[in-house]
Assembly symmetry: C2
Homo-oligomer: 304 residues x 2
């Protein structure tokens, strides 16, 4: 099952020629989720050969322009290109007001259903669950209401070990119980544990997108041992006061969150336009948390 | 006196990698006017080394996304980059509602004054006059209210021909009258015509931006003999019915307007994304109006 994220933009507030504002595509088994949609996201999709028709869900973290100003253009392009399939949009309630106002002034009626899911910003909520993947919000602390998103594979029914079932002569009528994790008890009262009768499951994978936020250890319990954490690292540590004042994080702070949460991998993003070379940010994160990378536009990161 | 226009984008509704939506910069003697501001305009400014700080006036033709969706990002970047100088914005009244709503949700107070000038869409109006340059709107016919913009150099005071003034011994007290175009009458009642005492003025130059519009001969009288006309040419003539239905023009129709108005030069733009090669549009315009060019991103056209 594919589980990967492709970065379309990982810059911060003011775009640069080669650093677009926030946007990324999460692919879970060919289900595509667009996370944030800064100005120029549809151009980036063209550049990296991603067909916007594939997207069924768009998640917007907050209403600062670098996270949503590409949305109206994308919605419009989807419409002009003949989309009829419904599109699910998740964001702060005012997002839909902005879209509706812009549809009205341009005298546009969408040919597809735009299903809006308003997000709370005071407590985490499950916003998507298809039985295999669950998405919940992560409450962040930024200058305005802002949520991150946590994607988790769900526990699936266990796969039966047919050889073992035959060996222990388990009746077919018990197979469902065993798929659901129950042990089997023989006529003679002997218990055969579930793990003997099933194939070990792969570890459940998970991905969290946390941008924008100040340093916020409150998020650690929710992110415990996730596979990949994308955390904003707008500034380096010499600008820690500026980070505090603007409700952003330094690269070292992002690494500290990763360390506390014992995540497997950390991906830094949302870089300030002031950094022409990002190595400074990477170098300050490494001593705190070794399994760290800088997000790169156009690059795909496998969650494994 | 510089008078030139630089194209930042000349695509139509759906952006392409190398064809951004409408945006252009008019430079009149180092006074900079941004005309339309499609998504990605600020990126294009970076690409073509144009400093957004120079812009004092932004003119938005209408509220279809490909003409204004880059505006909110640009306004925000100007603010983040420390602008304090006022910015004048011209557009349909609802434009300011859209901006105000987005400033509000992002909890942004601009550090500079954004002075909004709502435009009428039913009759032409003079929207700018600094004594040397005058801008009036051109009423276009599109699916929603839409105005073009006509930039005209104004008649200036005449330059005195000092040699001639000395030759005819004109008293200094009459110089102002002569600058204003009056003849001089000698004591003996002899009239010396103004053109003998002044240096011939250069022809007054003019530029019109007409996008988006259906074929509209109504605009011809206002555009009579202007220097450069930018006219939309969304489609080729095989798609004339589609042009009609969507209130756009074909290249041949743009050329016909240029011919009727006897303009000096025609610049075609607002090309549909369907044309990978634009030569088709140029070739159908040439037989109707010879002095025609295709707009090219990043290219500057001198108005002379």
């Amino acid at each position: 099952m594919t589980f990967e994220v492709t970065i379309l933009g990982c810059g911060s507030a003011t775009p640069q020629i080669n650093r677009f504002p926030s946007a990324q595509i999460l692919n879970y088994h060919e289900r595509f989720f667009l996370i944030d949609c800064g100005e120029g996201t549809q151009i980036q999709m063209l550049r990296y050969n991603f067909k916007h028709q594939k997207i069924k869900h768009i998640l917007i973290s907050h209403l600062h322009g670098d996270h949503y100003l590409g949305l109206m253009g994308l919605i419009s392009t989807m419409n002009l290109n003949g989309r009829t399939e419904e599109l699910h949009l998740y964001g702060q309630p005012e997002l839909m007001d902005i879209i509706e106002m812009q549809l009205k002034v341009s005298s546009t009626t969408l040919r597809y259903a735009l299903v809006f899911h308003p997000l709370q910003h005071f407590q985490s909520q499950i916003i998507y669950d298809d039985g295999e993947l669950e998405i919940s919000t992560v409450i962040l602390s930024h200058r305005i209401p802002c949520t991150g998103f946590l994607f988790r594979e769900k526990k699936r029914l266990k796969n039966l070990d047919i050889k073992a079932l035959k060996k222990y002569k388990i009746p077919i009528s018990f197979y469902n119980d065993i798929k659901n994790g129950l042990p089997y008890v023989t006529d003679k009262g002997k218990t055969i544990e579930n793990n003997i009768l099933t194939i070990p499951q792969k570890t459940l994978r998970s991905y969290a997108y946390c941008s924008d936020t100040c340093y916020l250890p409150d998020m650690v319990p929710q992110l415990k041992q996730i596979t990949l954490l994308y955390h904003e690292a707008t500034f380096d540590s010499t600008l820690i006061e500026r980070a505090k004042a603007t409700f952003h994080s330094t690269a070292a702070q992002a690494a500290s969150i990763a360390k506390q949460a014992q995540v497997k991998q950390l991906l830094l993003g949302h870089f300030s336009a002031r950094y022409k070379n990002l190595d400074l940010l990477l170098q300050e994160a490494i001593p705190v948390f070794k399994q760290v990378q800088l997000a790169e536009e156009g690059k795909t990161y496998v969650i494994e």
